[in-house]
């Protein structure tokens, strides 16, 4: 079953076609890597799925529900979580507070006012803190964490949010090779069973996690298939693998 499906998705920013007529689908439980040079429309696609931008044409279905043009917070409540390119935390709040606001199910004003941490929630918090190896830094401010720790805290927030579909926008930017590898493992272990879309440039990382790959180019679908097929695809090599030096 497809968890996510877009049909004829297009978006234009004052004449510039960021995405044109894109048909994209993701199976439940699948991990998909999206490749493409800068300006290919990768982040735009993620903005459309999460409701940050509204499409000019086309539809997006999530779990057979039409979410086209819905507000970001509504889409998030349906079960789509997103990690941005680079750390995007609540800087002057502690690690614990960052995780706490990420927990789902207490979105309304009333619930947030009379919220009490249940035992299950506390246990879950401990569990997540251990998984992202920040259990000794619960009261540290997010701004004082190292770059890698920040990225992992974001992963932890995704776990707390507990979405069915996870979107990771370049999760390894600015990481060392070792950190990148560790992040790859983290993604495979922590998010097992969830559907994941990863945007990534780092080919070592892509080889580590990828099965099926989608390549975008100038807002259009260029190729889709297993990683080996894609790597040997002539068109892909032309536009991306060779031309783009930072891959």
């Amino acid at each position: 079953m497809n968890i996510l499906e877009t049909k004829g998705l297009s978006v234009e920013f004052s004449g510039f076609k960021a995405l044109t007529d894109l048909d994209f689908s993701l199976e439940e439980g699948e991990l998909r890597v999206i490749l493409g040079p800068n300006g290919a429309g990768k982040t735009t696609l993620m903005d459309l799925i999460t409701g940050k931008t509204a499409p000019t044409a086309g539809t997006i279905h999530f779990k057979n529900m039409n979410i086209t043009g819905m507000d970001t917070f509504r889409i998030s409540r349906l079960g789509i979580g997103r990690k941005f390119q680079g750390p995007h935390l609540f800087d002057n709040m502690t690690v614990e507070e960052n995780l706490e606001v990420a927990f789902q199910g207490y979105h309304s004003l009333r619930k947030s006012l009379f919220f009490r941490k249940t035992k299950e929630l506390k246990e879950r918090m401990e569990e997540i803190l251990t998984m992202i190896q920040l259990q000794d830094k619960t009261s540290h401010y997010a701004i004082n964490l190292s770059h890698g720790e920040k990225q992992w805290l974001e992963m932890g927030m995704l776990l707390a949010q507990d979405p069915e579909l996870i979107i990771l926008d370049e999760p390894t930017t600015g990481m060392t090779a070792e950190e990148t590898h560790k992040t790859g493992q983290l993604i495979e272990n922590l998010f097992k069973g969830r559907s994941i879309i990863v945007i990534e440039h780092d080919m070592a990382f892509v080889r580590q996690v990828a099965r099926k790959v989608t390549v975008l180019h100038q807002g259009k679908l260029l190729a889709e298939g297993m990683l080996e097929e894609i790597e040997n695809d002539k068109r892909v090599q032309e536009v991306y693998l060779k031309e783009d030096s930072h891959a």
Binding site: T50, T72, S76, L89, F90, E100, S112, L113
Partner: protein, 345 residues
């Protein structure tokens, strides 16, 4: 108990000082300190909006003034048509002011009206996703607008001169004693402080803080940011209205100064000097600056404003997070180091 002392040391010391003030101060001193306490409540109200949600309101006196005017007008109407109205050949209290002839009704209106106005402003601003400096500019314009309304409708508001000769909370016809009224204001200040503390340490408070820290991000976690902003703005409007009403009997008169730009800016300064997002910080800021203002204007009547301005600039330079905020940070770091060293040995 120990926990209470540890978390609220400064607040408790300040409370002790304020509670003892009437015992070794003359009537003038008590009245003055009472006014400071009212401004401390007001500063806490702005801290919720600016310190926690990151929304710099440059027109918060609108809510303070609305509350104050409700009660002040009500007092003025107690003995029939007041003189400022009679001057405009008004012989009967106009229909729309009739509700204000009842003091309890005016009191309710003084809380409800600022909250409703805050809701309406908040609804249109936050639903339309206006933020940052544009929010500040709109609130700034509102402060000027309300100030002009108060000045230009002399027949109904007393105009530029404001409303004078207001009594001190006449319960059953007799005005309250100064000391008892002082303690009433102090008690309300404590309640407001505790409420603000509870609110900002609840999950709601954490979400409000995360709006300040990273507004785009919090929507991706499923929160309707507009609802949270509107709610915190309304709460702040309510508390500001309350402060405005408490100010009336303490001050004895109420003028357009208390609804317009001057007070709106001063309260922003109090919060900045005391320390944004700390609740007690803004209260301390309000207290210290007023104390200083009072001392300086007595000692140096010619150039006290210059000195006050200089001190404010220095504080902003050397205490970027406000007096309380910076001390808390420095002291916290020092204490942590101290503890580490002791554990190390």
């Amino acid at each position: 108990m120990k926990q209470l002392w540890k978390n609220h040391t400064v607040s408790l010391l300040l409370l002790l000082y304020l509670a003892l003030t009437p015992m070794f101060s003359n009537a003038f001193g008590v009245e003055l300190t009472g006014k400071f306490i009212v401004l401390m409540i007001f500063a806490i109200a702005l801290d919720l909006v600016w310190g926690y949600a990151g929304l710099l309101s440059l027109g918060h006196a609108v809510f303070f003034g609305l509350g104050g005017y409700m009660l002040a007008l009500s007092y003025s109407l107690q003995k029939g048509v007041p003189s400022f109205m009679a001057r405009f050949q008004i012989t009967e209290i106009p229909l729309f002011m009739k509700p204000l002839t009842s003091i309890p009704m005016a009191f309710v209106l003084g809380l409800v009206l600022p909250s409703v106005i805050a809701f309406v402003i908040g609804y249109f601003i936050f639903k339309s996703k206006v933020s940052g400096v544009y929010f500040s500019l709109i609130t700034l314009a509102l402060a000027k607008l309300f100030e002009m309304i108060a000045i230009n409708n002399q027949a109904y508001t007393g105009g530029f001169n404001g409303l004078m000769g207001l009594p001190r909370f006449p319960i059953g016809g007799k005005p309250m004693e100064l000391d008892s009224y002082y303690y009433l204001v102090l008690a309300i200040a404590v309640v407001v402080y505790l409420f603000a503390h509870w609110l900002m340490n609840s999950r709601f408070g954490k979400i409000v803080k995360s709006i300040r820290e990273n507004e785009p991000r919090i929507a991706f976690l499923g929160y309707n940011v507009a609802h949270y902003k509107i709610f915190v703005f309304v709460i702040s409007g309510f508390i500001s209205g309350l402060a405005g009403m408490l100010y009336v009997p303490m001050n004895g008169f109420f003028s357009p100064n208390e609804i317009g730009l001057a007070l709106s800016t001063m309260i922003v300064v109090y919060v900045a000097i005391g320390g944004r997002g700390t609740i007690i910080g803004p209260a301390i800021g309000a207290f210290l600056i007023n104390l200083l203002q009072n001392e300086l204007s007595e000692q140096y009547p010619a150039f006290w404003q210059l000195l006050l301005g200089l001190i404010i600039v220095l504080v902003v330079l050397f205490f970027p997070k406000g007096i309380y905020g910076t001390l808390q940070e420095k002291l916290g770091a020092w204490l942590a180091q101290f503890r580490l060293r002791r554990e190390g040995k």
